[in-house]
């Protein structure tokens, strides 16, 4: 049987949509029309009855009786339009008023709930807020027309270098961009006069840079085409901060000479306040490309302004079409085939994130889940508070139910109240976070001198929208579920004279879960903090005499691969030849520092790869790295010059790699290759040629984790960290090393040397920040658990006032009464702690390590702190109602029953 023709279906659907639109959007006028129609009906019927001889008054009365209950017909009329659910779930202004009244009526419970959600909602928002901030447009680019162009190496999951070759080629060929700019950031030695130079963040920029960015100097002039000619008089633009702090905002600074590197350079302009492109720069120099640059030329980063009417997608498509014709030789062609050219927001270039932003990073999902768990815990506790609050309103709810309010209508009212609470909490939380972000120096916390100038974590309209969305979800979780539970049997039991609500298994499970999570979080955070402080005082780390090794980082000023390679080799040779230097190791990360993780695939010797991916830490090391740290290869062989020059790719792994990934089977001859999700081609196979002891590959727990060491030429190691084994009092070599560096490599910026045991740089701040964050999180969780317990206990005591009063009057001791109330809570706290401890132990052993003595210590403290706080809150929450109970007399209690 054929269905109705298409127009019938469409016409019917359109009619329904129109009807819903009128009934929902123009609800008031629709309601008025219904009432008017009913009145007209009754008037016509009355007139007819009068015509039939009935007296007007009697006719009017009969007509009304014949019509029936107009309000019921009105409700039926709306229901016949399919709006029953909408009406029942609709939130009215009355609901909002009732919600406000409940907030004021129960201030303590309201405050606890607001606090829980004011913490939970911003925490839940944080990951998406940060992700959006990273991808936000640069300041002064509201339409987001400025984009970075880069290469992405899917196998390495990292940004690959772009050079002057790409910049010039793309500038010439790309039609999707109106202009491209190249830049490179570096640290310059700057002296304002003949005094000692200081390092200052600087950027060399191409001629089009300020045009692309749409920025002009506030004083002086921009860079002219002549400034970029090799041999022209050196010029520099300075930042507003430098101008204000070093030159006291003197307008006469224009034309003055300062020493940048080895050259006296004329200041020609002052950039506007806040401008620090690409991130931290305070000096801008014209990028002059020297004749010595051959092959791919100097490494530069590239940004461009999208041409009018061109989209990012069009630019990306054009870029992909152009890419293959860029190779300069066969080796370059292989590299080109591996890399993917991308048009991305500027922040992704700076942060080295994939094109998808944080969404494409697995750890981001873990962070999101963790944050949402916090919000969920907050919602759970607010649910208990709502449960407690609603339980005091049984009489009101029962009357409403008796008057015909449906269950869904009551549920939607409770939802409205919770939604109001969640909105207030979200507003308070978001405002507080915004205020904090505007008053706290985040850069200092992160161990930086400044935040990237383009990164603003302040609240944006989209953050507000997300906050409202989370508030709605929170209100649904925290309001609707308890409302459904409470409007079930309980209201009707109350109508029949029952005793109302008691906390059931659900709330018990919530309290136990809260405490378990809090104990686990406190344990984890304390263990990490302890671990960090432990590490600070360790002289020997993972077999490396860290206190006897001097470590220093060199940063390139002139980022020219060939030149800097020769310079670095000369420097390393000079340092190694220095009397007193027992060993020298060069790598992109030293023991104790965080090394990057990469996914790999492993194939045992003579076997096929399983296809499973494992994440390992990777380190690019110079030949002789292990000897330099005082270690020899345990099995197989060390790297030699052939590993750099030959076609075959070789790696050395640590003992943890052999145990964890190869099951202690023979590692020599086994192969591995780097892979990544979304990679078109994994990298070539690398053969394992040696095994070394565990030399520390991360900051938190240097003794654990699989590592792969890749041989790298000195010019390919970036950042360049050098460890010098110089025996006791290693820092005495500091001045000598600086002398050598200035003599051999004056263009390299040398950071302050320190011992390897203290050599953490940003890593230490990262770990400290992690520990502090987890501790704050743990305290929040404990506070949330306490608020839930508060709600439960205060209601329990209120509910049992009569029973407890009678017991007190009949001679029960105060101690017995207190125990009667607390018994259940103490059991729940004990159970929560018991469940939380193994969880904490698991986290601690996974993240921190089993070998340390810290976990047990941390666990005991964690349990004590968490349970102690919760018990104090429990006692406080019982105190007021218990005093009331203990003061009650039997006659009053009996009267209450009557």
């Amino acid at each position: 049987m054929s269905g109705p023709p298409g127009w019938v279906t469409v016409a019917g659907a359109l009619a329904r949509v129109r009807s819903w639109y009128r009934s929902i959007v123009h609800r008031d006028s629709t309601e008025r029309a219904i009432r008017e129609e009913f009145e007209q009906h009754i008037a016509l019927h009355t007139a007819r009855l009068v015509q039939q001889g009935v007296a007007p008054d009697a006719a009017a009365q009969q007509a009304r009786v014949a019509f029936g209950h107009a309000e019921s017909h009105r409700v039926d009329a709306r229901a016949s339009r399919g709006l029953r659910w909408y009406d029942q779930l609709r939130v009215s202004t009355l609901d909002v008023k009732l919600g406000l009244r409940m907030l004021v009526k129960h201030p303590v419970i309201s405050a606890a709930a607001v606090l829980a959600l004011a913490v939970g909602i911003p925490v839940g928002l944080a990951p998406s807020h940060v992700a959006a901030a990273i991808e936000a447009p640069l300041p002064g680019d509201p339409d987001h027309r400025i984009r970075a162009i880069r290469y992405w190496d899917p196998a390495a999951v990292a940004v690959a270098a772009t050079s002057v070759v790409e910049y010039e080629y793309w500038s010439r060929e790309l039609r999707s961009f109106s202009a491209l700019a190249a830049f490179r950031a570096s640290t310059m030695q700057v002296a304002l006069d003949e005094g000692r130079p200081e390092p200052l963040e600087a950027a060399e920029v191409s001629a089009a840079t300020f045009g692309v960015l749409g920025v002009v100097p506030q004083h002086g002039r921009a860079l002219h085409a002549d400034d970029f000619i090799i041999g022209a008089a050196p010029v520099v633009l300075i930042g507003d901060h430098v101008w204000r702090t070093r030159f006291a905002s003197d307008p006469a600074v224009i034309g003055r000479a300062i020493r940048v590197g080895r050259e006296w350079t004329t200041v020609v302009g002052v950039m506007p306040d806040g401008f620090r492109f690409p991130s931290y720069a305070q000096l801008w120099l014209p990028m002059r490309l020297t004749a010595t640059q051959t092959g791919r030329g100097a490494t530069v980063q590239i940004v461009g302004r999208l041409a009018e009417g061109r989209s990012v997608e069009q630019a990306q498509a054009e870029l992909e079409l152009l890419a293959p014709s860029l190779s300069v030789d066969a080796r370059d062609a292989e590299r080109q085939a591996r890399l993917r050219p991308e048009v991305v927001p500027f922040g992704l270039l700076f942060m080295g994130l994939p094109a998808g932003g944080l969404d494409a990073v697995p750890e981001y999902y873990l962070a999101q889940i963790l944050m949402l768990v916090v919000l969920l815990v907050a919602c759970g506790n607010v649910a208990m508070l709502v449960f407690a609050q609603t339980a005091t309103r049984f009489k009101e709810l029962a009357v409403r139910a008796a008057l015909g309010a449906s269950r869904s209508r009551i549920v939607s009212q409770i939802f409205a109240e919770t939604f109001l609470l969640a909105l207030i909490s979200a507003a308070a939380g978001v405002f507080l976070v915004d205020w904090t972000l505007s008053h706290v120096n985040l850069a200092a916390i992160g161990g930086q001198t400044a935040m990237p100038y383009w990164l603003s974590l302040r609240v944006t309209p989209s953050t507000v929208v997300r906050a409202v969305l989370l508030a709605t979800l929170s209100a649904t979780a925290a309001g609707v579920l308890p409302a459904i539970a409470i409007t079930g049997r309980a209201v009707y039991q109350h109508m029949r004279g029952g005793s109302g609500v008691r906390f059931g298994r659900l709330t018990g499970v919530l309290v136990v879960t809260d405490i378990a999570v809090a104990v686990a979080a406190v344990g984890l955070s304390l263990a990490i903090v302890r671990q960090v402080t432990d590490r600070q005082s360790l002289a020997t780390v993972a077999g490396v005499p860290a206190a006897e090794i001097m470590a220093v980082e060199f940063r390139r000023f002139d980022d020219v691969p060939l030149d800097s390679g020769r310079t670095v080799r000369t420097l390393v040779a000079a340092l190694a030849a220095e009397p007193g230097v027992r060993g020298l190791a060069v790598a992109n990360a030293l023991p104790l520092m965080e090394q990057p993780s990469r996914p790999i695939e492993v194939a045992r010797a003579g076997a096929e790869a399983s296809g499973a991916q494992e994440w390992v830490r990777t380190v690019a090391v110079d030949i002789g790295y292990f000897r330099g740290l005082g270690h020899t290869v345990l099995r197989g062989r060390d790297f030699d010059r052939n590993d750099l020059e030959g076609q075959d790719r070789h790696v050395i792994v640590n003992t943890a790699f052999v145990t964890e990934l190869l099951g202690d089977r023979d590692p020599i001859g086994a192969r591995l290759r780097f892979a990544a999700r979304g990679a078109r081609d994994p990298s070539a196979w690398h053969e394992i040629v040696g095994v070394v002891p565990h030399l520390g590959i991360n900051a938190v727990n240097p003794e654990r984790g699989a590592a792969v060491y890749l041989p790298a030429a000195l010019d390919a190691i970036a950042p360049l960290h050098v460890a010098l084994d110089v025996g006791e009092v290693p820092l005495r070599m500091g001045p000598r090393v600086r002398e050598i560096a200035q003599a051999v490599a004056p263009d390299l910026y040398m950071a302050s040397p320190t011992t390897l045991s203290e050599y953490r740089q940003g890593d230490w701040y990262l770990v400290l920040g992690l520990g502090a964050g987890l501790t704050a999180l743990a305290l929040v969780l404990v506070a949330l658990a306490a608020s839930g317990l508060f709600a439960m206990l205060s209601l329990t005591v209120t509910e049992r006032t009569r029973e407890l009063g009678i017991r007190a009057a009949l001679g029960a001791s105060p101690r017995t009464l207190v125990w009667t109330v607390l018994r259940r809570s103490v059991r729940q706290i004990g159970l929560g702690a018991a469940l939380g401890l193994p969880l904490a132990a698991y986290f601690v052993s996974t993240v921190v390590g089993e070998s340390s003595a810290s976990p047990l210590w941390a666990l005991l403290i964690a349990t004590g702190v968490a349970c102690g706080i919760v018990l104090i809150v429990a006692a406080v929450s019982c105190a007021v109602p218990m005093r009331r109970v203990l003061a009650i007399e039997a006659s009053i209690a009996m009267r209450a029953e009557a």
Partner: protein, 113 residues
């Protein structure tokens, strides 16, 4: 007046559509017209009429406009839409077929078995 008959569930819509198909009419007029054309055999509960009218309007089978009634008050007049006419024809055909079938069944004699 004929003996009153009870409407079978679902048949109210058909009767209302018939009443409106005879010409534009307001809600009370629908009631009177049904009473008139059924010779008083079908009496629709006054309150039940409006949910049915709104349901038909919601489905796009009838449309409404405001006009002036015989007592000079504003009244809402209903008329059949093209969709409503089609639906009415289908329902009428279906009902007539069923009524004939039932009538035939009920008038069967032993000789026809």
């Amino acid at each position: 007046m004929a003996t009153q008959a009870e409407l079978l569930p679902g048949n109210l819509d058909l009767v209302i559509l018939k009443a409106i198909s005879l010409g534009d009419v307001h809600g009370y007029g629908v009631l009177l017209r049904i009473e008139q054309i059924s010779d008083g055999a079908i009496l629709v509960q006054q309150g039940a009429l409006y949910p049915a009218l709104y349901r038909l309007e919601h489905r796009g089978l009838i449309s409404s406009t405001w006009g002036t009634s015989e007592n000079n008050r504003r009244a809402k007049y209903y008329r059949l839409t093209a969709l409503g006419e089609r639906e009415f024809r289908q329902q009428r055909t279906s009902w007539t077929r069923l009524a004939d079938a039932i009538a035939l069944t009920l008038t069967a004699t032993p000789r026809e078995v």
